[in-house]
């Protein structure tokens, strides 16, 4: 049977962390199962958690008056949901909704921030990984902004 620490160790974002750091991170997490269509995050609400998706998918949405919810990205097994727990004022900036029944590890953000304060090496390692993930997702967002398909040329 896989322990929570094993599950955490399998997350691509956390690859290469020491067993002791993985244990500290796992100590702030708990397994959670959520039905489809449930909001894990709501824009403006306290960002006190983040999630590792084990199964299922989570859609990140922005609500636009007159247009309703617009999905801007979906996240899938192995990916992390939520950055806002890392940065003051710790408020969600998007909505996050499960697209289907989803299994997660839910981490207590305050618990992990406290451990990062106490162990700056853990803090550095975690920040480095989240920063790399932020850069990847920022680059993807830039590509979306280009609207490459909308401006595609006539050929084909």
């Amino acid at each position: 049977m896989r322990t929570l620490e094993d599950v955490v160790a399998g997350a691509p974002l956390l690859a290469g962390l020491s067993r002791s750091h993985l244990g500290l991170i796992a100590g702030c997490g708990r397994n959670q199962r959520v039905d489809g269509g449930i909001y894990l995050l709501r824009e403006g609400e306290p960002a006190d958690r983040f999630f590792l998706i084990r199964e299922g998918a989570v859609a990140l949405e922005i609500h636009s008056p007159g247009r309703g919810a617009i999905i801007i990205e979906t996240l899938h097994p192995g990916e992390m949901v939520g950055w806002s727990w890392l940065f003051a004022p710790y408020r969600w900036q998007l909505d996050g909704r499960t697209v289907e029944p989803t299994a997660l590890v839910a981490f207590d953000g305050a618990c992990l921030r406290g451990k990062c304060e106490a162990d700056h090496e853990l803090g550095y390692q975690l920040m480095s990984r989240f920063a790399a993930n932020l850069v990847q997702r920022l680059q993807a967002t830039r590509l979306q902004l280009l609207d490459v398909y909308g401006n595609d040329r006539a050929l084909r």
């Binding site: 309703g68 801007i72 590509l143 490459v148 595609d152 050929l155 084909r156």
Partner: protein
């Protein structure tokens, strides 16, 4: 250089601005072609444009083109109802390397209307499914209602294609992926040593897709891309489609990425 007359026998609207036409020659034999080739299509008085063939190469009786109406000529071609006549020259250009990659895992990476030139390759590969390892489609579009061949994706999957589809944005009713096509590369779990990639789409999309593929270890020599430039004559005479030392209509449109990359890095080209 003289267009052959073809008649539109069927027209299907794929998206708000894109339709698929089936054509038959007014006289003579059907147009045999290889996956990846294109024709020069013309509508009387509206001009001539290069359009990739999107039909089944094993069933050349009907010439199939998926056309996006973005200008005078393409709008006139797209508007061709059954019975309308169009001019056809070709087929031109070289094929996707489908015949030389037996045993490989084949990844088809398409963006937007770039799936149209890859459809013949997909149909060719599916007709010979047992000769290949994994067949993987990575397809990105702007929005769910702008995806091509939605009614065919299920049938392709049943025949052994792993289809990963994503859109740039969607409403809450969409249950599929949302995000850029490059993110599908990491999710596909490719074996880089066995993988051959055929890619077509906006150039910037292909560039970033290749970047994701090479991060996964796929060599540039095993990545092929279909290029577009200002093709006018289709036979390498006018020089409008020059890219570095090559003419895309004559030497392309399909190239190995390792050959293309130095020329794409020159911003003036």
């Amino acid at each position: 250089m003289v267009p052959e007359p073809f008649v539109v026998v069927d027209r299907r609207r794929d998206t708000a601005d894109t339709c698929t036409l089936q054509l038959e020659p007014c006289a003579g034999a059907p147009l045999r072609f290889s996956p990846g080739q294109f024709t020069m299509l013309s509508a009387g008085g509206a001009g001539e444009v290069p359009i990739s063939i999107s039909g089944d190469p094993d069933r050349p009786e009907r010439l199939v083109h998926t056309v996006r109406a973005v200008g005078l000529a393409t709008a006139a071609i797209c508007g061709g109802s059954p019975g309308a006549r169009l001019g056809v020259r070709g087929p031109f250009g070289g094929p996707w390397p489908v015949a030389g990659i037996e045993g490989a895992d084949v990844v088809v990476a398409a963006g937007g209307i770039g799936l149209a030139p890859l459809r013949p390759a997909i149909l060719w590969l599916l007709a010979r499914r047992e000769r290949f390892g994994r067949l993987v489609l990575l397809y990105g579009g702007r929005a769910p209602d702008q995806l091509l061949y939605r009614d065919e994706l299920g049938a392709w999957s049943e025949r052994g294609l792993e289809a990963h589809v994503t859109v740039d944005s969607a409403g809450p009713e969409w249950l599929g992926h949302v995000g850029v096509v490059t993110r599908l590369v990491h999710r596909a779990g490719l074996d880089p040593a066995r993988t051959v990639v055929m890619s077509c789409g906006p150039e910037v999309m292909m560039r970033f897709t290749v970047s994701a593929l090479t991060e996964c270890g796929v060599p540039r020599e095993r990545i092929y891309a279909s290029m577009e430039r200002n093709m006018q004559c289709g036979i390498g005479h006018c020089g409008h489609c020059q890219l570095g030392p090559t003419l895309i209509c004559r030497d392309g449109p399909v190239y190995r990425w390792s050959e293309l990359e130095p020329w794409l890095a020159i911003r003036e080209l």
